[in-house]
């Protein structure tokens, strides 16, 4: 969070996500987020860190319009999230990939069908969808498991499946909530490389994680939340050099 002055009426060039003095309260007098201002640009990769309950998940929910801000403005892909109508929310979500902490996979659908869900929603023809799904599963190393059901997969495989579903549409924004939480060292790096490569292709990637070693290893921008407030916004090595 570059704590730069953000004016929602004049978004910065390339900024896909802009939060302007955003606060969120679920209960009167208790704030999940307090006066948060942050921007995420096209192709930018940023970590969102902080202890449990700091507001990381709330911040992500606000970006993909699962929650509305109590105060402030959120501009995502040029749309004011607080003012989105009934059809505006799904239209916005189709342009955002989300990797949920609990994966949110459909247990009765196959691996292939789970990934295809994101393509079904946008009306991708079946044949084209099949080849896109296969290519995506290959990228996350799950092509041999495409006819299995999620419950027969290991935790790590389920996580990779969730990432495949979030990325198959080549979204403009990717939000990942603890995407490497269930993975071992080698797989963590594979998945992180996948997320970084999405940013290289122009997707704005926001990754919530507890893993400080990971943040250090990748040397990317890191935004730290504590008690709903941004307490640190460190630029990545690339921005520094």
């Amino acid at each position: 969070m570059r704590a730069r002055g953000v004016d929602p009426a004049h978004p910065g060039a390339g900024a896909l996500v802009r939060l302007f003095h955003v606060s969120k309260s679920y209960l009167a007098g208790s704030w999940a987020l307090r006066d948060v201002s942050v921007e995420l640009e096209k192709g930018e990769f940023a970590f969102l860190t902080g202890p449990s309950g700091a507001g990381k998940t709330t911040l992500m929910k606000l970006i993909f319009a699962a929650e509305r801000p109590s105060e402030g403005q959120i501009i995502v892909l040029g749309r004011n999230v607080g003012r989105l109508g009934r059809s505006g929310v799904p239209a916005l979500r189709r342009r955002i990939g989300v990797v949920f902490q609990d994966f949110k996979l459909l247990p009765r659908r196959t691996v292939e069908e789970n990934v295809a869900l994101a393509l079904d929603v946008v009306g991708t023809p079946r044949r084209q969808a099949r080849s896109m799904v296969f290519a995506m599963l290959k990228r996350v190393g799950l092509q041999h498991r495409r006819f299995h059901h999620p419950l027969s997969l290991s935790g790590g495989e389920q996580q990779r499946l969730a990432i495949a579903r979030a990325l198959v549409n080549e979204p403009e924004i990717l939000l990942a909530d603890e995407p490497t939480g269930n993975l071992d060292g080698e797989l963590t790096l594979e998945i992180m490389d996948l997320l970084v490569s999405a940013a290289t292709r122009g997707t704005a990637v926001f990754v919530a994680t507890h893993d400080s070693a990971l943040i250090e290893r990748y040397g990317r921008r890191s935004v730290k939340l504590e008690d709903g407030r941004i307490v640190e916004d460190l630029p990545g090595i690339r921005e520094l050099l």
């Binding site: 993909f64 009934r86 799904p90 949110k104 459909l106 994101a118 079904d120 929603v121 009306g123 579903r165």
Partner: protein, 301 residues
Amino acid sequence: MRRLGVRLRYFSRTALHGLRASPMTSAVAVATIGVTLLLVGAFVLLVSNMERLLDRFGEDILVSAYLEVGLPGEEQRALLERVESAPGVESVRLVTEEEAVQRFRQGSAGQASLLEGLDENPLPASLEITLVPESRSTEGVGILVAALDGLRGIDEFGYGTEWVEGYARAMALIRGIGVGIGAVLALATLLIVSNTIRLAVYARREEIEILRLVGAGRSFVSIPFLVEGFIQGTLGGVVAIALLYGFFRILLPGIEGGLEILLGFATPTFVGADGVLGLIGAGAALGTLGSGLALVEGSQR
């Protein structure tokens, strides 16, 4: 257009997936619609056969215009031409005095002696008027008689439509009862289908939530449930037709015997293609509406 095709395939695939996921509840919905439509179909079958009988009775409606005794032959023929152009008349036949006597003798074998000893033929000539099919009713006869009444040379009219009128009234009553029962059953079915779909929505709430999170709109989530209701309704209609046909074949010999004794003729027939399509269509409509009801209720909670 291509996108619409993709969507339609997705909706049908998802609906079939949903039906397979809860086969018991789906079977109950199909059976309920089937039984409801079976009862409605039974009424349709009864009324359509009664209507056919009424048409048969209508063919027997004949108006006789008795002519004045001693009316010369030319005037009788002139009257015949006049009556032929009256409203609702299909054909007119002149029955002369001699023919009337002959008929009387043939028709009343034991009482032919009644005419013996009479110097003159007491039976008048008459015009036997057959009506066009649309006018074969009490109203049609009334219109014709009113048009011919007062015509010189016609003494009086003979017709017997009271019993036909009674039959038509009974049929209207049965039709009314059928519509009433049909409406109540349709309402009950709507509620049952609506409950089935509500259960399906509840069972798949997690899936719906995930669909919404990946950007599915309201219609994308709802339409598969409507398609599910449509499929259940259509299957229910097919079940109803199959059961109705089965019962019809089993009960036909008994019905035929009874009608033959009662009316002298019997040709009960099954509902036509329009009836079959109508029942299946009604099932499809009930299923879709019931499902729509569940979705509307669900979205208002």
